[in-house]
Symmetry: D2
Subunit: 382 residues, 4 copies
């Protein structure tokens, strides 16, 4: 290769978890170089981060608007921007960069309303830009293997889906008394920054996306019970879903389930078998065929083929972590930009990264889940 | 001791799984002797089973009515009867023995309708008889330990309950084509024998009972989605519940989830910690306190106290299986009879076995779950 | 059946773990009835136990000699005796009953010296008696499945064996200070009762037996390091072995490995695959074929065939515990006696229970392990 | 920071596993920049790799000697070199760079003989250079937590150590027929490139190092059984060890244990508790205190303190993989260089990375293990 893309970042100042992961993911692959940024609304911190990454001071911007405009005018403008800010700002920032004809990779959720989401989708389509939305978990090889098994008919017709995403880091918020306390990402419990939902918005949407990636199934309607425990936003949710094909599923997400740190678990059951994947142990996939012993597939082994094999970084038995899942999405996204720049026609480009369409679905899912619960736990179309 | 109770059995002919487990459970403890029976409607098989157990031929009966009447008149009549027949017959058989003033241990579900259930409850109360309903799983020591931790406030206030019971033995019934094929217990898919529900009736009711045992919480209302896959009775169900105290939970049960054999898993989450128990690995209990490493408790260890310690049969590390869970219920039930016979007052007798009251709750739960689904997946009071 | 064998027991007074397990195992199957016993050297306790089991007082004996002699003369004499006393007495008691022409099932280890062991072997052979030695673990169905896979060549040629049996119940004995304290089975640390070895004798011998059962391999020579930690007998041992065919293995046993209760784990590695079984989770068998995902076999499933399937008591997913492993051995032993009594020729009788030959091998293994360590951790022929 | 160190690499051409991991580890942290290299003896491939990393062509060298000499003379010479070549070349390459006054991070094993190892040690000492040896596994936070627990006396006095490192990637070499076939790293089975040992050299040495890191214990003597299966170098080994303090341990390593990919497992048993860590699931540490339930510690949680907490990159529940373990070593190594360059005195510098001293111990361990086996499986001083 030799030629790296140039990218900028909005958000991700010192100590920011997600921004850090995005940067590590790109850096470890060496496929793009960070050359511009607006990392913090605090300009000191902004400069500090720029300094750490050896970024030319003139490309450290005071706000994202300035960044989009000024980058647009450079000959060596950034090829894409990574947006890793709180949810409330995703829409306007994404829009600004799209309108500057810069490809976008944005953290999820895409934005606050389905109208905004559709608007972003339209702009990207019109301007022929790639717009990635970082639903990390479909970047794991074993999730791709699960998708392959389902697609190949290895588990037959799907009869049931059970997925959950359990955490416990907001347990002290139950009862509402500690609402004001600061903690990493406590902005998530603030409607101004998080939007209409905290728990479903932050992690329920990951369930929706990961299930959709593996199975191709999107909820047609749903019924949810969101638990607020006296907080302004939800901390826990149990959701029944019905897909287009009439099959049912159940999704549970929580930030108050003590003993679970980041427990995304997806189980898909079919007439001929099942697949099960757990994010905290991501290098394994459990596959059981009807009337056969359960099988544990290990990432990186010779018996794995397809996309899951292509995305292997490290030999089997040497654990890959979450950064590689993010890196896999970036690698595909960056390759797509490179190939497009080289004139390859879109249908020949590998687009296996989460896109603005996924972001739109995610926002609609969140809207439906909140509406169902607010309106008395009734069925809502998604 | 030296003096054993005498018991009879209805159902449990050659090859019957449940009857066999009941007999082994009682025999291994040596606290009661099988002296009468009506094991099969096929009289040859009935005699054969009686012969195997050295039962006096005159106490092998052609039907349960004859058995109840003739036993009633004997001086050495049976102290209790074990009823291990298909669901459809539980009501009438139980009633017959209660009316013969014989204590009853009946398999679950108790009967078909809440009216029947209430009637049985009333007869037992009136006649001052013990009426056990074999919800096996609360017989496991580690379930009792979970109950103790919840009762002792070790996990704080309950905020969420997640429980499932997944099997896969009826996967071939999906689509309805193989409905006629014979298989062990295929009567479960026949409404005439199983009642209004197959999956919820058979295993969903175990979820309800085990959660209630551990937490003291019974669903006040529920909303269910039952999947029939073209069969007459349900094979899969996802159910949202709300308890009396407003806390929510989610129950999933299935006979079509490939890769799961008898997967009852109960997780109770509280403000200070959580407990998790899985029936297929019953000698462990996972307990996590807030901000502490998760802990795996092992049955039979010195650090276990209370009822879970009392019911220990075998030293730690030497696995106890399901027969001991059944035996624990029988031991308590039998001791209760012995103590009552010896004149001990009821409030001093240990009644920690599942009772007709549990059976009533179970039937109501099944009724509500079926009604919710049939009426369009709406909320129903239990 | 209808006709039960009659059996007697030596040892197994109130509170005795092993005697209790033997009785439960036999009782749960109903294939033999306890009619005679010498349960304790304390005659009060002896009578008490007899009373509990409804044994005729005249068949409660003051010592084993009296029991053997008097039973021998009865028309309705016991068909077999179960010996569940401390190790030091196994030889003389077994001998007494063999000489009374009574079949024997004895706890392991068989006796103290290989001379004694050979003598017992000869007497049993001469008198045409069955002599079982209760190496429990080969009674588990999944151990039998492991054996089948090895025998059928599923894992190819064996290249390595790794087995361990770790406990922690004697951790407080390290340093020797608490040697005098009483604790269940503390006789095990007393050379007078345990013989030349505690840890290797009690549990190392189980490793030897279980590996031999699965693989057919017996150590030809070994080198051991026994740790005494200032006690009279070993509490920990690491042993390198070489089998007849030149393949090597490593055995570790311990009573001082905190965190392990009864952790017998056997792993057999071959050119085409491997099998792994763990006693604390006995209903599973891990099988991995070369270049394939690992497979978890579950007891009781339809895909299991052979002896492991025959010995199934309870449907898959409903855990069987250790009592059934003991029961499986007794069932085979008892059937063998019945069939022999009915005149079946020995070569047609299923003898798949651990026998005096296994006991002889066990004693030789213990002798070699102790000698190796005592003589400076050198290689010793077994 | 802003100022990055400059580094060069020897080895690590296209497709090389280890070189790739080293580069990703450094790149993801952004603490040093790759500016020079001799990646392959094939100059085309060498240039290709340089091109990929945007390295100035004049700093792509034809051999390591040229590289050491020419770098030495540059004003902007590399601060350190990473050596990721086959074992046979470690000694000469390391020596060349040390003599050019360049800090070294070398893959393990350090070299072929203890004489060479001592020589490297002396040169580094004399010239006051940091010399890291990449024993990766002590870089994992949970290994550091294990070390802390042992050091803090949480598990009391050590009584036994059991460690293994099992792989299966060379199973087809058993019997020797496929010795010539090419496979990733097949040079490992070639004595010219691997030295006197394959299996013990490659992975047995990791056991030695990881145990030493956690416990502070180094084998004083050992007895080994190496299995060659007709190959020139060992593929399997079982080793008994005795530490300076008289405590014993057992180490098993293998490349022919089907079902194990990279299964380093270390268990340390003490009078008060035990710790257990498994490399394939590196984000967990099992800790059991005497008479208490076992505890599973999770990386990244608030209840973890000390070095394991400092080295946290990603929040709990989001798996970190092996690259972070390597990165942790590099981070410490690079910080040490920076601090030394800034004049900090050596005793104030954090030197918690594996050093040439560890390399020396590793070589001595390998020598003793091979000698023990070759001389008839006898005890050898290390």
């Amino acid at each position: 290769m030799g030629k790296k893309l140039r990218y900028g970042m909005v958000g991700g100042g010192p100590g920011a978890f997600i921004g850090n992961v995005h940067r590590k993911a790109i850096a470890s692959e060496g496929t793009a170089e960070l050359v511009a940024g607006c990392f913090s609304t605090n300009f000191e911190k902004n400069l500090e981060t720029g300094d750490f990454y050896n970024i030319d001071k003139e490309r450290i911007y005071r706000d994202y608007r300035e960044m989009a405009e000024r980058e647009k005018q450079r000959e060596d403008k950034i090829d894409f921007v990574s947006i890793v800010t709180p949810n409330s700002t995703h829409f306007e920032i994404s829009k600004a960069f799209l309108e500057a004809d810069i490809h976008v990779m944005c953290e999820k959720p895409l934005c606050f309303t389905s109208e905004e989401a559709e608007e972003l989708y339209s702009i990207a389509k019109e301007r022929n830009l790639f717009f990635g939305v970082m639903y990390t978990y479909s970047g794991y090889p074993m999730v791709k293997l699960a998708k392959k098994f389902v697609e190949d008919g290895e588990i037959g017709e799907i009869v049931n889906v059970s997925a959950e995403y359990l955490q416990d880091w907001l347990i002290d918020q139950v009862g509402g008394e500690k609402q004001s306390e600061t903690k990493l990402s406590v902005w998530r419990t603030d409607p101004k920054k998080s939007g209409i939902s905290n728990c479903v918005g932050d992690i329920g949407s990951h369930i929706e996306n990961t299930v959709a990636y593996i199975t191709g199934l999107r909820p047609k309607k749903l019924l949810s019970v969101l638990d607020y425990y006296k907080m302004d936003l939800d901390l826990n949710a149990n959701i029944l879903v019905e897909y287009e094909n009439g099959v049912h599923g159940v999704y549970s997400c929580s930030q108050v389930c003590v003993g679970h740190l980041n427990g995304l678990v997806v189980r898909v059951f079919g007439t001929e078998g099942s697949v099960e994947w757990a994010q905290e142990d991501p290098n394994y996939l459990k596959v059981t065929k009807k009337n056969q012993p359960e099988q544990i597939y290990h990432r990186g082994t010779d018996y794995i083929t397809g996309r899951a094999a292509e995305l292997n970084h490290i030999p089997a038995g040497h654990p890959e972590g979450i950064v590689f899942a993010v890196a896999n999405h970036y690698n595909t996204f960056i390759s797509a930009i490179v190939e497009k720049n080289e004139g390859m026609s879109i249908e020949n480009i590998n687009l296996d990264f989460p896109k603005v369409e996924d972001g739109v679905s995610g926002v609609k899912f969140i809207e439906a889940a909140v509406a169902s619960s607010k309106e008395g736990n009734i069925w809502k179309e998604v």
